[in-house]
Symmetry: C2
Subunit: 151 residues, 2 copies
């Protein structure tokens, strides 16, 4: 009986937890799949796949621009051999569960004449669930400290 009650309490607690944390976990899962796609199929393909039609981009050092078509055009000149790896860390969802943001840490690595150079930072992606599918509608990042070197 004790086990049954404990099990029921656990099931109810899980339901409450899922109801609350659901959209955040969904967004983090999508952001992780987005990051994995960038690694496997390249950054331009991944950004094109996860961007909403009306996405607004805030590139570092540049002016904001709007639209998935413009994004694809910009990313077509992605530097040869450059990688952008990111790790989603956390997020917040709107009460309705169909909107929210994730944030995380990124490392951008470019190939230059003198070898690789990396820059580190963090990002915020804003997500909207369109017809059951999460797409990012805004993306912005800025530089931050490099991860601490290991002792």
């Amino acid at each position: 009986m004790k086990n049954i009650l404990t099990g029921a309490a656990f099931a109810i607690a899980s339901m409450i937890s899922t109801a609350y944390a659901g959209p955040v976990e969904e967004m983090l899962d999508v952001d992780r799949a987005f990051a994995a796609m960038a690694q496997d199929q390249g950054v331009p393909a991944a950004f094109a796949a996860y961007a909403a039609e009306d996405v607004r981009m805030f590139p570092e050092g540049g002016a904001p621009y709007t639209g998935r078509d413009a994004l694809i055009e910009r990313f077509s000149s992605w530097p040869e051999g450059a990688t952008l790896l990111w790790t989603p860390m956390d997020g917040v969802a709107a009460p309705g569960g169909d909107f929210g943001y994730t944030w995380g840490a990124y490392v951008f690595t470019a190939q230059g004449e003198d070898g690789e150079t990396s820059s580190y930072g963090k990002y915020v992606s804003i997500w909207r669930k369109d017809d059951g599918e999460w797409k990012f509608i805004a993306d912005i990042g800025n530089q931050g400290p490099a991860p601490e070197a290991e002792d």
Copy 2:
């Protein structure tokens, strides 16, 4: 009769327009009031007034941090005479109307030994309506081009 119908159509169109654009206009109004307070009462006071308790900040060049108390602590060392002016440009609201983001352009001006130096950029603020009041729950910016010089 034509005028009555035209008037009715206009009223309905206005209602639809208000229903759709309402939360975005609300957020932009709050963001404008926030910017005005920063100008009138200083940046630290304005950030303390408009931040949610669980705000997450993404300062340029620094690590993210969480909480209004931490924000107040950080902004207590705001440089003497420095100003941060911003102009909200647009935003997107969640379908529920209680969550969304605004973005805009900023100019940060610091007083140095060699006079004033300004840096320009854009920002994204994420807002949540808590008990009828909009508070920002995330804030991130990065540098962008200076406004074009006038001819």
